[in-house]
Symmetry: C2
Subunit: 347 residues, 2 copies
């Protein structure tokens, strides 16, 4: 039995602090003179961001810091995907779905936040060109740490790549039993990022790992990068958090137009402004008179025609669904002069 | 600059076909006599399932095969998470969220389907014990290929583990800048599984990879395994597919009880039985007379009291929301003797 050639994953020590304007290819080649053609470099996005000056100054502490962080987050957010407690999952301008848009306050002084690189694929291409200028033909992956749905714990995945195909496509190939491998596209750049993280750690300043001996499609040039891994919200079955989607469904029920409806936007955040938001959501659809009562709302018809009474009923249900979408369950009481909605306690 | 000690990932060749009752520890040690204490073995779940006889016989082709596959899938499914076209994402009895419950028809003859191991953590423990009986102190990870939300491409993750902690917890540690690492728990068994896949491939019968040189918490004994990575549906922000959650929201709007409601189950599948399902969903809540009309439904009140007219209106909206939850948008027309719902074309 011959010893199989192993894949090697080497940490790169001694890169030290990276600041805006630094030449990463220079810093890395100096710290890893043993780099060789065919190596795959997994570079933590943080040092790429630092070298590119993707830092914003924020107060070191206090409520001002959190306010500043929220402003920065809003600027990096294309859309909010899910929110629970202090956790906000957003889709970034790049299309990545990440907690807090990948904005990071670790491994940087307390007066700065680190943003993701502007264009991680471009960062990987530029870095790869920097190595090429030094006579090194390597692939470059820019990686970051992300959470995921359904499983606890974080893993490193790729934000950008150059000189390697993000996907290894087995489709059309056959297994030894003659079964076609119909649905097997492996996200190898994510697996390489995960492998690299195993030698990096979070605090010991090893921002680069080198994977040696991985045979990949070297003929791709820079290639399309990681952008091909991004699934657009329409084709993603989990483009919106469950509770957000459920609220959006209730919201759309509450705002059904008399003509066939289109899907409405995400419902507004619940409580303490929930009742106000619910009323605003259906205000344009109501002909009934709505009056605040202790612990509820009273609806009376605009006129006493049978049609006006029937419409009052539809409007009462619209308003109930709107309140439910805002996390405010209600009880309903109907009498001959109108309806009373009684607020319940959110379950 | 001294050469850092690399992490090594070695493929294990020559294991060959695995059948029910095979001793995997024996097959692996024979194929990899170079195994050493401290190695982390990443074992593809497929050969674990085969050794444990987790195969079901199915017709080789035809509609009977698909019917059989659906029966098997139902048996492995704890709940359906999302469905689109031919893709069904379910939570398995183990708690894993996977397409088709991880049931696999590849790398097996056409008359069988391979199920996930009954208890992958137990499988990993048993396999580790098998190596221990041969004087080898190794960690064992049982891995499989999974898709994920938001990103194209598949990666290998861990289904079971023994002799290694699934999570590496950085919480409470501080980075060089004095920032506490508050939310950093790395799912190292998933990263090790991904690293192992890089040397396995899908068709070349390399079902085991060995990671050498990874320093992990060896003092854990077997440890809790991968079960600690499973996030229960309540704490998962993506416990349900977006469209399923939106439909559930519409459904709950349609079925609001007069008393504060509880969250209803997932709405029934839409079309062609959509209208029937929508009517059934609210049947118990309707006092109005509902009549089929060309392209719609006509609702008339059970009596002519003002309260009955108002209630008719609430019921008309319940029914509209129920139809919307089933993918059937409606238009609404109100007159003095009732309401007419006109079916629209799903957008």
């Amino acid at each position: 039995m011959t010893l199989p050639t192993p894949l090697e994953i080497r940490p790169v020590h001694g890169i030290g602090d990276v600041t805006a304007g630094d030449d990463l290819a220079e810093l890395i080649t100096r710290a890893a003179p043993w780099l060789a053609d065919g190596d795959v470099l997994v570079v933590t996005s943080k040092i790429v961001s630092k070298a590119e000056g993707r830092l914003v100054e924020v107060p070191a502490d206090g409520p001002e810091r959190e306010e500043a962080r929220q402003r920065v987050l809003a600027g990096e957010t294309a859309r909010v995907v899910a929110r629970r407690g202090n956790t906000t999952i957003v889709q970034t301008r790049h299309g990545f779905v990440m907690a807090a848009a990948g904005i990071d306050a670790s491994n940087v002084d307390k007066t700065h936040l680190v943003l993701l690189p502007e264009d991680p694929d471009a960062s990987a291409r530029a870095l790869r060109a920097g190595f090429a200028a030094r006579g090194l033909d390597v692939a470059v992956i820019v990686s970051d740490t992300m959470g995921r749905a359904w499983r606890n714990g974080l893993t490193d995945v790729a934000l950008g790549a150059a000189g390697i195909s993000a996907l290894l496509d087995h489709r059309g190939r056959f297994d030894p039993y003659g079964n076609e491998l119909s649905l097997t596209q492996m996200a190898v750049v994510d697996e390489l990022s995960a492998a690299g993280e195993l030698v990096k750690g979070k605090t010991d300043r090893v921002p680069v790992a080198v994977v040696r001996g991985y045979s990949h499609d070297g003929g791709v040039g820079d290639g399309p990068g990681v952008s091909i891994l991004i699934r657009d919200a329409e084709s993603d079955m989990f483009g919106l958090g469950t509770s957000e989607a459920r609220a959006a469904g209730l919201h759309s029920a509450a705002t059904l137009a008399d003509t066939p409806p289109a899907v409405p936007p995400l419902a507004a955040p619940v409580d303490p402004v929930a009742v106000r938001a619910a009323r605003d959501a259906v205000a344009g659809l109501l002909t009934a008179v709505v009056r605040e009562t202790p612990g509820g709302l009273r609806l009376t018809p605009s006129s006493d025609t049978p049609a006006a009474l029937i419409r009052l009923g539809t409007e009462a249900h619209r308003l109930r669904a709107a309140l439910a979408a805002e996390g405010v369950p209600t009880g309903l009481a109907i009498d001959d002069s109108g309806t009373t909605l009684t607020f319940g306690v959110p379950t």
